[in-house]
């Protein structure tokens, strides 16, 4: 069941360093919200707070009304910037980690992940070890690992940042329908304007540290159709320019 994520008056600081200031953000069930901002603006910290791996210095985060850390941890699947594939497990065993942790037997968990492998164009690579996979494939395995958890909220922390431009474009096209199909509520952290515009229903632009929300835009997620067409349309160009302008205005001295 997709869930509402709501942050109210969220503040966070590391010692005397303010990272997030007075953040209000709500993501509706099934919505994909992109958090766009310069490096170091606290986007990643925000995700870790949302998924219950850290507690905020002030304010609250609730998921489907539950504000406890344990409740958020249970509701969210977090995908860190690095793929974090465990080198001692095959691609399929890596993807099957969540159901394994949830108590399924190894063969049941593998069977569940294997469906996604087929579905998402990774069949034939089930028994490959992580170091045998390309960067793009590793990232796909990490996505599947996150999706297979079956959690209502997915938190993606710059999932494509480590990839080359071509693979990134390819995976954006791959990921958009995958997320739509999952029906999950998604928070996507990125500093890539095009990625935010193409993948998200809504784009929230954060200022440089300490991060606060400076603007919100509607994304092109609903546009449908081929990625190349979408991102070269006049309306997307306008969105891209707007996003860039807002980002640069925040960074400028």
């Amino acid at each position: 069941m997709p869930a509402t994520v709501a942050a109210r008056g969220l503040n966070h600081s590391f010692g005397s360093l303010d990272v997030l200031v007075d953040l209000d953000l709500e993501a509706a069930p099934g919505e994909v919200v992109a958090l766009l901002g310069p490096s170091g603006c606290g986007k990643s910290t925000f995700l870790e707070i949302v998924c219950g791996l850290a507690s905020p210095s002030g304010g609250s985060v609730t998921i489907a009304g539950d504000g406890t850390e344990a409740g958020r941890l249970a509701a969210c699947a977090w995908m860190p910037q690095r793929d974090c594939l465990l080198p001692w497990y095959s691609a399929l065993d890596n993807a099957a980690l969540a159901p394994r942790n949830q108590g399924l037997s190894r063969s049941e968990a593998r069977a569940r992940a294997a469906e996604s492998f087929e579905h998402f164009g990774l069949d034939g690579f089930e028994s490959a070890m992580p170091d045998e996979l390309s960067g793009g494939m590793r990232q796909r395995v990490a996505f599947i690992r996150t999706l297979v958890s079956g959690k209502p909220v997915l938190l993606l922390d710059e999932p494509l940042a480590a990839l080359d431009a071509i693979t990134r474009a390819e995976l954006q096209a791959w990921l958009a329908p995958v997320l739509a199909e999952s029906g999950a509520t998604v928070l996507l952290v990125t500093h890539d304007v095009e990625e935010a515009g193409f993948m998200a229903d809504r784009i929230v632009v954060l200022s440089p540290r300490p991060g606060r929300i400076v603007a919100e835009f509607e994304g092109a997620r609903g546009a449908g159709g081929d990625r190349a067409e979408v991102v070269s349309s006049p309306s997307f160009n306008a969105l891209r320019e707007n996003l860039l302008e807002t980002l640069l205005a925040g960074v400028a001295p």
């Binding site: 870790e48 998924c51 219950g52 791996l53 941890l73 249970a74 969210c76 699947a77 977090w78 995908m79 860190p80 690095r82 974090c84 465990l86 080198p87 001692w88 497990y89 980690l97 969540a98 394994r100 942790n101 949830q102 070890m129 170091d131 690992r145 996150t146 958890s149 938190l155």
Partner: protein, 252 residues
């Protein structure tokens, strides 16, 4: 195994033995050292004794091997146990770490006779001495391995519903395994020294015991034969661990 793996050490060993053979059998070494030639045995003489006294040497090698294996096993259990305990609690680690280091400063030669007084001439004092020597490299390496766990991978696992035990089993243990094997290999090499010290302090059998007797009777060739067998035991144990490592740590 490829020839490139075993050929270089074999060639080096053959070369050194050849040099030694020439130096010893020509009387050169005895002259230089100003000794009777029977005190400076050549490799061929050692090999000769190794064969003629094979029963005696084997009879003494077996108890030594048993001591080494048991002492090593004890150290492995204790070392892994302490490392896991230290990983589990920062307080326990801070409290206990100095003691682990202190265990390594105990002069084994001095403590061995005391252990014999306490535990008698049986296997226990040897076992404890071997375990004492082997414990440190195993414990320290295992702890380092556990502590090198990627914290991001741990958080990823927690977000995928892993319990503390599941994180330990699926992330921390595999991360630590290569270090565990490194510690075990170091321990295997020094275990033999512990066995000899233990037997010197008081025993009725074993290669260390035999060496002590042969030393008193100036039977140098058989002494070297015993040392040779001790080396074979150490290298064998080391190789066994390396083989296990290759079979288990496949991802490296």
């Amino acid at each position: 195994m490829k020839a490139r793996t075993w050929l270089p050490p074999l060639v080096l060993l053959a070369l050194l033995c050849g040099l030694w053979q020439v130096a010893a059998s020509s009387g050169f070494m005895a002259d230089v050292l100003g000794l009777e030639s029977f005190l400076v045995p050549s490799p061929s003489e050692i090999a000769d004794v190794l064969w003629t006294d094979r029963v005696l040497i084997l009879q003494n090698a077996v108890p030594t091997l048993v001591e080494i294996l048991a002492g090593f096993g004890l150290a492995l259990a204790a070392g892994l146990g302490v490392a896991v305990l230290f990983r589990g609690s920062d307080l326990v680690r801070r409290a206990g770490y100095p003691l682990v280091v202190a265990s390594q400063t105990i002069p084994v030669i001095v403590i061995a006779p005391i252990l014999v007084v306490w535990f008698g001439y049986g296997i226990w004092p040897k076992l404890l001495i071997i375990a004492l020597i082997c414990f440190f490299p195993i414990a320290v390496n295992t702890l380092d391995g556990l502590r090198s766990t990627d914290p991001e991978a741990v958080r990823m696992m927690r977000s995928l519903d892993a319990s503390r035990a599941q994180v330990f089993r699926r992330v921390e243990v595999p991360t630590a395994l290569p270090s565990v094997f490194t510690g075990a290999r170091i321990a295997a090499a020094v275990a033999v020294i512990g066995a000899v010290f233990g037997e010197w302090a008081g025993s009725e059998e074993g290669l260390g015991h035999l060496i002590l007797q042969d030393n008193a009777q100036l039977m140098t060739a058989r002494m070297f034969a015993s040392v040779f067998v001790l080396s074979v035991i150490a290298i064998g144990l080391y190789a066994l661990i390396a083989l296990l490592e290759r079979a288990i740590v496949r991802w490296r």
